[in-house]
């Protein structure tokens, strides 16, 4: 049961908490950017900035999907495995199609669409079970995580798919000076932004996450909306999988383990709430960039691996605590 927050705030009065809520994460981002540029001269170079952007692309794409889900009160733990599955399927299919003399442009498109399709099928399955049986998303997607990984090993026979061919360009090349992975990331960010701020579908996500009973009682078809959210996220993950393997120039069935946690962390740092009903795509992007910068700067500074883990964990804990303190009381 909720407690009434007892304030009757008159307009015009500055409330620090609300300010932090909206803009805090960007302030942190700027601070971290500033500190990083000072600490390492290598940080603010073109190459390094582009590196950071490519390095966060896959996680950010997945984080967009997670943001959509977290806002509606759901979650998905399967992206890491689905990235492996869809990514390997993408490059494997591409390799076969091209070997069968298909034009590489067409083969590429088919392969990527196939990957996105696989991602969507898996999410569809998850969401069907979640909505039909009112099953907890955590458990269902956890099961899907194991199953998808298994499917990936079956498909690849446990060995990497190498010599994948031209499709690697979507992960390794640039259009002009912008890497294709970054273009994909920007596209997904824009789509997510449109969904969340311009579409009725997005409004419904916030409503369902904020108070599912009230959403139902207001005439919203909650099951349909939730399944659509999962489908969207699944498509994103499929795309991310294609990019991931393309960047590695091979289909690696054992990679991307735990990637979903990086994505979820980015979303939470960026202001999405596990309780649902709150979250923005700009926040998630900021969260992903912050984590990306931290990883990058620790690497640039040649900090030892073990210490990197500690620093990362520490910073994430601080961000989350700040987030809780400024959100006020939640359910």
């Amino acid at each position: 049961m909720n407690k009434t927050v007892e304030t009757n705030i008159k307009p015009g009065v500055i409330d620090v908490k609300q300010l932090y809520n909206k803009y805090g994460i960007f302030a942190i981002l700027i601070v971290i950017l500033a500190i990083s540029s000072i600490i390492s001269p290598a940080f603010l170079t073109d190459t390094n900035i582009l590196n950071v952007l490519t390095q966060i692309s896959v996680v950010t794409i997945v984080a967009c999907g997670e943001t959509i889900l977290i806002i509606s009160g759901m979650i998905d733990l399967s992206p890491g495995s689905v990235i492996a599955l869809s990514g390997c399927l993408c490059v494997g299919t591409y390799k076969s199609l091209v070997a069968g003399n298909m034009a590489w442009g067409l083969a590429g498109i088919i392969s990527i669409l196939l990957a996105m399709g696989v991602g969507m099928v898996i999410s569809f399955l998850s969401s069907a079970i979640i909505t039909r049986y009112n099953a907890p998303p955590f458990i269902v997607t956890l099961a899907m995580m194991t199953a998808a990984r298994g499917l990936c090993y079956i498909y690849t026979g446990g060995q990497p798919i190498y010599d994948i061919g031209e499709i690697r360009v979507i992960g390794q090349s640039s259009l002009g000076f912008i890497p294709i992975t970054v273009i994909a990331m920007i596209l997904v960010l824009i789509i997510t932004w449109v969904i969340l701020t311009q579409m009725r579908f997005g409004r419904y996500l916030y409503a369902i996450g904020g108070n599912k009973e009230a959403a139902v009682a207001s005439g919203i078809k909650t099951n349909k909306t939730i399944m659509l959210a999962y489908l969207t996220s699944g498509a994103f993950v499929g795309l991310a999988g294609s990019i991931f393997m393309a960047r590695l120039n091979s289909g690696q069935p054992s990679e991307a383990v735990g990637l979903e946690f990086d994505a979820i962390t980015a979303a939470i740092i960026g202001g999405s709430s596990f309780n649902g009903g709150i979250g923005t795509v700009t926040g998630t992007l900021a969260g992903a960039i912050i984590i990306g910068i931290i990883n990058n700067i620790l690497n640039l500074m040649l900090v030892q691996s073990y210490y990197q883990q500690i620093v990362k964990g520490f910073i994430i804990v601080i961000a989350v605590i700040l987030d809780i303190k400024t959100k006020g009381k939640t359910k």
Binding site: M1, Q198, A214, G219
Partner: protein, 500 residues
């Protein structure tokens, strides 16, 4: 020992942007029931939270039991002998009744860290039995009805040997007989020398127990006197700051043809064979004791709950309602009695809440046109006089009355044919209630058929054209406005007996 258990001197408290309590001085005599009335935002709850230690006053003194108090916490307050029953229930759903009653003072085993569960449950069961309460000690809080949960909260406060008990709207969600039970307890406590501060909107009720009455308005203490010095109208005048001649504004409305009919509506074990109809422009009141099944009936009509049998007809034609969508598409709308749970998305903005249903059933576009939306929401806010700092304010920050108006706004946007209101004015102050009655009247004039469930008989009698009475899941009587009196309604509702 002075005759005052509590003395407040010039207490002031502000929050960002608003002065909630403005220089209030108040005394509460020992062993008396001191009632505090006032509109929402008058400062009653804030003052209680100051007394109970949750807030620290910006200025002023608090003298409790002849001791000047420094800063203190709610726990310290409890230890000192100040107990509080909150208006908004803060229950932990998975906790059992027994655990809840003994929270903080559980009987322990040899080593203090282990709770003696058997003892806990046995003592609780005994206590509940001795209080003649039909609640099992092991029931989880979430499985209790709202009124049962409230009673448990009351018991909790009563059993911890307080010197001063603060009760904030304790009867807002409990049945008539439970209210009687509470009043009996209050008299018992008084006899034991315990002092009680009692906040209520129910002006008819307070005269049954009040020794003294204080009226607050806009954060200020307006007047205090013995109960005999006041009557209902004088209190209302002081609360609102103006003369209110007509508490229940009733318009002359042309009642048209039949809008809505229910035949043989049944839900096994909950209600059976419900038959009634409503016409356009008519206000049908649903009377009955709590637990009679009124909410369940309308929830089934609205498609929120399943039904086992019966037909629903709109304008003479049968409609199939299996989900909320079906109901809405047939023009049937329901505002739940639990607006927090079913009516609002508390963490979202006023604008989003108002537009929630309209996005599909009025505008029906996949993309949101923000400027258009703003205009529509703004119009609604003005039309219903919703007090909010802005359209983007979080709806949880609005007062109860304004929240209810926001929910109404949401539904009015999609032009219902039949509007079902379940306890629409619960927890809302007199001024806001009046506004809602006026809105209802306007809607009736516009031709909407209205069904109103209420547990406040005066309200039902004042607003309804007809009153249907539900008892034990059956419709036991229908009374026309002219013939209805509190007694006649209660006779049907309670079946002549004085318990449920």
């Amino acid at each position: 020992m002075s005759e005052n258990i509590l003395e407040l001197k010039n207490v002031t408290k502000s929050f960002p942007g608003v002065k909630a309590i403005d220089d209030i001085s108040l005394t509460v005599k020992r062993g008396t029931v001191h009632v505090i009335v006032g509109e929402n935002g008058a400062g009653k709850s804030t003052l209680m939270k100051i007394i109970n230690g949750m807030y620290k006053p910006d200025a002023g003194e608090i003298i409790f039991d002849d001791t000047l108090l420094g800063a203190y916490t709610p726990k310290m307050a409890r230890d000192m002998g100040i107990a509080m029953i909150y208006q908004e229930l803060n229950i932990i759903p998975e906790m059992t009744v027994a655990e809840n009653i003994y929270l903080g003072r559980e009987p322990t085993r040899k080593f203090k860290t282990f709770i003696h569960n058997k003892k806990l449950n046995k003592q609780s069961a005994e206590y509940l039995k001795s209080q003649k309460l039909n609640i099992k000690a092991r029931t989880k809080m979430k499985d209790l009805t709202v009124s049962q949960a409230q009673i448990i909260e009351i018991i909790k406060a009563i059993t911890c040997n307080a010197k001063l008990i603060i009760m904030d709207e304790p009867t807002s969600a409990i049945t008539e007989s439970e209210t009687e039970y509470l009043f009996e307890k209050i008299r018992e406590l008084k006899a034991q020398g315990v002092s009680i501060i009692y906040i209520s909107h129910k002006l008819d009720e307070i005269f049954k127990i009040a020794d003294h009455i204080s009226v607050f308005r806009d954060g200020r203490h307006i007047k205090t006197g013995s109960a005999g010095e006041f009557n209902k109208n004088s209190i209302i005048t002081l609360m609102v700051g103006r003369e209110m001649s007509n508490i229940y504004p009733k318009e002359e409305v042309e009642i048209a043809e039949e809008a809505f009919r229910v035949e043989g509506l049944t839900s096994k074990g909950v209600f059976s064979d419900i038959n009634f109809s409503v016409r356009y422009g008519e206000i049908l009141g649903f009377a009955g004791l709590m637990g009679a099944g009124r909410s369940e009936i309308v929830r089934a009509i609205f498609g929120l709950d399943k039904k086992d049998g019966g037909r629903i007809l709109m304008g003479g034609k049968e409609v199939v309602i299996k989900s909320v969508n079906d109901a809405i598409e047939n023009g049937i709308i329901m505002l739940s009695e639990n607006r927090r749970k079913y009516g609002l998305i508390p963490i979202r903005s006023v604008r989003e809440n108002i537009m929630l249903a309209a996005l599909k059933y009025m505008l029906d576009k996949k993309f949101i046109r923000h400027r258009q939306e703003k205009k529509i929401a703004q119009e609604m806010v003005a039309r219903l006089s919703i007090k909010t700092p802005s359209l983007n304010a979080t709806v949880a920050n609005l007062s109860g009355g304004n929240q209810q108006k926001a929910v109404l706004a949401k539904w009015l946007l999609i032009k219902p044919k039949v509007l079902i209101l379940d306890e629409p004015t619960r927890g809302i102050d007199v001024g806001a209630k009046y506004e809602i009655y006026k809105i209802m009247g306007r809607l009736a004039k516009e031709g909407i058929a209205i069904i109103m469930i209420s547990s406040e008989l005066p309200e039902l009698l004042g607003i309804s054209d007809r009153i249907a009475v539900i008892r034990g899941g059956r419709l036991v009587g229908e009374i026309k406005r002219e013939e209805a009196t509190q007694e006649s309604v209660m006779r049907f509702a309670a079946g002549g007996e004085s318990n449920e």
